[in-house]
Amino acid sequence: MSSFAKYWKANQVRLAPWVFLTPGIFMFLMYVIFPIFQSASLSLYEWDGLGEKEYVGLRNYVELMDDEAFYTSLKNNVIWLVLYMLAIPGGLFVALFLNQTVRGIRIYKSLFFFPFVISQVVVGLVFTWFYDPSFGLLNVVIQSFGFDPIAVLADERFVTYGIIAAGLWPQTAYCMILYLTGLNAVDPEQIEAARLDNAKGWKMLWYVILPQLKPATFISIVVTVIGALRSFDLVSIMTDGGPWGSSRVLAFYMYEKAFSEYGFRMGYGAAIAVVLLGIMLVYISGVLYKMYRDEKGL
């Protein structure tokens, strides 16, 4: 037996995990972890993507502070974050509605989940027609009540809300499925005990059911926050940031700056992405903290 084989045999429990981890870690470092730092460093440069990079220190960030479009995007991101949370009670509501055992309920559950399975591109197109001022279903309904049609996606006041509504559709479906599985795991004995104590309706939901649904609520919040901050597809498809940039969000604005037709501004785009990451980091650390406590059994 060669000395290498001997060494391996004696130490394989210590070495094996690293052998198994190497390919995955390598890919993840190359495509995910390093790029985060590369972007952070790039945000200190001015670069058109082709020529020389020029070090400009914090100039991109200083410029951001005077950039009206940046504030619009930031404000829209906050609106997204807040309103997207509606998917959580919405999902819970639908889950409660569907948590029955009548015939065919499984098909209903699947069909309610449908919006999440289809691509956001399709969702975006569907809602663009839905809002269309001349023939969209929304305006057909509005007009039948005798009101003037509203061009939701062409109106600065409504556009962001219109897109968020489209996003809430699949997101609610997602939260619904999380809650449906959560409801499956609720302890029936506790419910019976609470029923004997005359708890029902809202009281039962609030004091008995919701505490048991905590894991589902936690993960719903996580995926909804991520969804809200990643919102790019719908904005790009439904309005392309318009009208006049009023529906931009940070993710979209960053893309626009980095690859715009007015010249690539990679460094500036990277600076926007760093701000977005900063917002996300608050949540990431919260999630990791909770997972850490769970792992340590605290």
Binding site: V32, Q38, L42
Partner: protein, 282 residues
């Protein structure tokens, strides 16, 4: 069970529920039903403004044939498969190994590596955009399926590791201990003891990753251009630009593009839902 099982309610409530179910479903899926309806209308219906009434003629076959003959949608769909299938395979291979390493072995850096995967998975894509595009260009795989596959495999490994690791952690550890006592090597333990038990997790993960990647639009626009390599999400967006006002064709195209993940979902429903919750709710 909560809410109270409907069978225990009065007959009126029960009937009300049975009526409310399909009604709610129609409202919920109304936007989608509208698209499905539009996709079988004639162009004449649309020009005469008949968007919501009964179609004057059913042009299902014509419209769907037109979509396939007048546009590169078949090519787009093929491109999507070329990206999605290798990604699913790659993710499964990498994440069963990382999940095994993190789920079975106790070593100092275990939790740190695990959290690295989890945290990376939550990062907003945009921060990766410019460097990943550069990397893809430098590797000479910009505007190829390979370029997209490499990135997707790497990124999805984060989520998949979380998923696999939690699954493996729930397996009985005694199995591995027993094998070790028998003198079975670590690689054989992975291959013959753990891997066969991971089949349900792999099935769930495959469906999930398939759906994620099939529906990806952002990376498709960043890493590819043109009908030769673009997947169907990006393709559909450019078709939408070309077919202004030809809504019947755009809707038919949308339905076609949405089909594969929908079929996948219905075939593998059990796994899909298990997947969504297994990786998430422990």
């Amino acid at each position: 069970m909560f809410p109270k099982p409907i069978e225990k309610s009065s007959a009126t409530v029960q009937n009300l529920y049975k009526v409310a179910l399909p009604f709610a479903l129609i409202i919920w899926l109304l936007p989608l039903i509208a698209v499905a309806l539009t996709s079988i209308r004639s162009a004449g219906d649309l020009t005469s403004g008949n968007y919501w009434g009964w179609p004057t003629s059913f042009n299902m076959v014509e419209n769907y044939t037109a979509v396939f003959t007048n546009s590169p949608i078949a090519k787009y769909i093929l491109n999507s498969f070329k990206v999605t299938i290798p990604t699913v395979l790659g993710v499964i291979v990498l994440s069963s190994m990382t999940g095994f390493a993190l789920g079975v072995y106790k070593f100092k850096a275990n939790l740190f590596v695990f959290f690295l995967f989890v945290a990376g998975n939550f990062v907003p894509f945009q921060i990766l955009m410019i460097p990943v595009r550069e990397l893809t260009l430098n590797l000479g795989v910009y505007n190829t399926s390979t370029g997209l596959v490499l990135f997707h495999v790497a990124f999805q490994t984060g989520f998949a590791t979380l998923f696999m690791r939690n699954f493996i952690k729930a397996l009985p550890y005694e199995l591995i201990e027993a094998a070790r006592v028998e003198g079975v090597s670590e690689f054989r333990i992975f291959w013959y003891v753990v891997l066969p038990l991971m089949k349900p997790a792999m099935a769930a993960l495959s469906v999930l990753i398939f759906t994620f990647i099939w529906n990806d639009y952002f990376w498709a626009t960043v890493l590819t251009q043109g009908a030769d390599t673009q997947p169907v999400t990006a393709g559909l967006y450019s078709l939408n630009g070309q077919w202004v006002a030809a809504w019947h064709l755009v809707s038919a195209g949308s339905i076609v593009a949405a089909m594969p993940p929908v079929i996948m979902f219905f075939l593998m429903q059990k796994h899909f839902i298990a997947g969504l919750t297994l990786g998430a709710v422990k």
